[in-house]
């Protein structure tokens, strides 16, 4: 997958994938399914940072997070900081991460998205009622399960 990567990413593809991820993150779900929603924005940003670390770095992650904040109506900067942290974590281990097989990458996704979600809940707890339980971490598990599929599909489209 990495062998075929081009030097320059397609910005159009980046923006449209992000748009779809934004749509996905606000589709109304009923009851407990809300806890099982994969964090598509995290996953899409994970893909782009992993593949083009020089183009989609910490600042881009931060700006996308800011848009995410506006979309959800949270205090500006909460998701921004969380996504910037995700990008930072990916960049620190990018050499190894690129060599990993997809399943091992999934495990890293589980860890990173888990950290992102916990950081977000922790900061958000200062501004409103803190979360009552840890069920929101299920989102990280579902995200990790979705990662191989997303990586394969995005890779196909990106190469075409």
């Amino acid at each position: 997958m990495q062998a075929a990567s081009k030097d320059h990413p397609s910005h159009l593809l980046f923006i449209s994938s992000l748009f779809l991820a934004f749509c996905f993150s606000v589709v109304p779900l009923q009851g407990f399914a809300n806890n099982l929603r994969p964090e598509m924005i995290c996953l899409v940003m994970f893909y782009w940072t992993l593949k083009y670390p020089h183009h989609y770095g910490i600042l881009v992650g931060w700006l996308v997070g800011l848009c995410w904040d506006v979309l959800l109506g949270t205090t500006l900067g909460v998701h921004a900081l969380a996504l910037a942290l995700q990008t930072y974590l990916i960049l620190t281990m990018i050499q190894r991460l690129k060599m990993y097989p997809l399943l091992q990458q999934s495990f890293v996704v589980l860890m990173v998205v888990g950290i992102v979600l916990m950081l977000y809940r922790w900061i958000d707890g200062f501004f409103s009622q803190p979360a009552r339980d840890m069920a929101y971490l299920l989102g990280a598990v579902v995200s990790a399960l979705c990662w191989p599929l997303l990586a394969i599909i995005m890779g196909r489209i990106d190469r075409a």
């Binding site: 934004f22 506006v70 910037a84 409103s128």
Partner: protein, 281 residues
């Protein structure tokens, strides 16, 4: 290095947004740019509505028309009585030197989004500051109080539901007028009445209406019905739960209430003051 810069920047933005309210223009601009996201999400619903309304047969339409007409007749009859009753109440209130009840004006709006956060009960509606929506505006549906507006952009606004953890409504019991505070507990079909003494006169099935104290919600709108009362001798207060009357997770159309300014009561100050002091003694 850059992560530290971004972290400091984030904390600055967090404080500027939450404490100083400096960034509302940024939020408005980005929110307007992101409006297509909500269009896309509502597209399937729109297509369904359109197909339903354009495919319906003549018979079905006639039937629907007939039921609507009969319903309208019933409601009109009821409202006729209501107007005479309102007039009578106002006359009686005038006798008591109290301000008269005014009709609120109402704007119908549609829910176009639900906050995906499972810990936050918030919906997005398709009316914004261009239609005169303001922060703190009370919101109803056909059954009862829904919540209040918390954020406004030109074309949409966010409504915090009464069931949210961060929300509380001042209410009174319709039967005897005793007051209380109805808190959301983060469950859609359950509210909690806070700090009610064990000896308070309250029963299951009591209707709770907004009391108008606090100045945010107009008085007299139905909010909830008491569903259970538990007296625990070990606790200082009774544990009272209520079910919201508004269909918080079902209604698609909700009503934004605009209150007309109330006429200033022409209080006969001296009399009232002496009366209250007398009562205080």
């Amino acid at each position: 290095m850059r992560i530290i810069l971004v972290a400091v920047l984030s904390i600055g933005v967090l404080i500027a947004d939450s404490q100083l309210q400096l960034l509302s223009s940024v939020r408005t601009a980005v929110a307007t740019a992101l409006t297509p996201v909500h269009w896309v999400i509502n597209a399937p619903e729109g297509v369904l509505d359109w197909t339903e309304s354009s495919i319906k047969s003549r018979d079905e339409l006639q039937e629907e028309n007939a039921t609507l007409k009969s319903r309208l007749l019933i409601l009109e009859a009821k409202s006729q009585r209501l107007s005479s009753v309102t007039a009578e109440v106002n006359r009686l209130r005038e006798l008591l030197n109290a301000s008269s009840i005014v009709d609120d004006s109402i704007l119908v709006s549609e829910i176009i989004g639900v906050n995906p956060d499972p810990y936050l009960h918030e919906v997005i509606v398709n009316k914004g500051s261009e239609q005169g929506i303001f922060v703190g505006q009370p919101v109803l549906d056909s059954q009862g109080l829904v919540g209040q507006v918390t954020k406004v952009t030109p074309l949409a606004s966010r409504v915090l539901l009464i069931s949210d953890h961060n929300h509380a409504v001042p209410i009174q019991i319709n039967r005897n007028g005793s007051r209380g505070i109805l808190m959301g507990i983060g469950v859609l079909d359950k509210l909690e009445l806070a700090n009610v003494p064990d000896t308070a006169d309250i029963r299951e099935g009591d209707l709770l209406v907004s009391s108008g104290l606090g100045g945010r919600f107009p008085p007299g709108y139905p909010v909830a019905k008491v569903s259970s009362i538990v007296h625990d001798p070990g606790e200082p207060f009774a544990k009272i739960e209520a079910v919201p009357l508004a269909e918080l997770n079902r209604s698609r159309h909700i009503l934004m209430v605009f209150r007309r300014p109330e006429p200033i009561p022409q209080a006969t100050d001296k009399e009232e003051v002496s009366e209250t002091t007398a009562m205080a003694r």
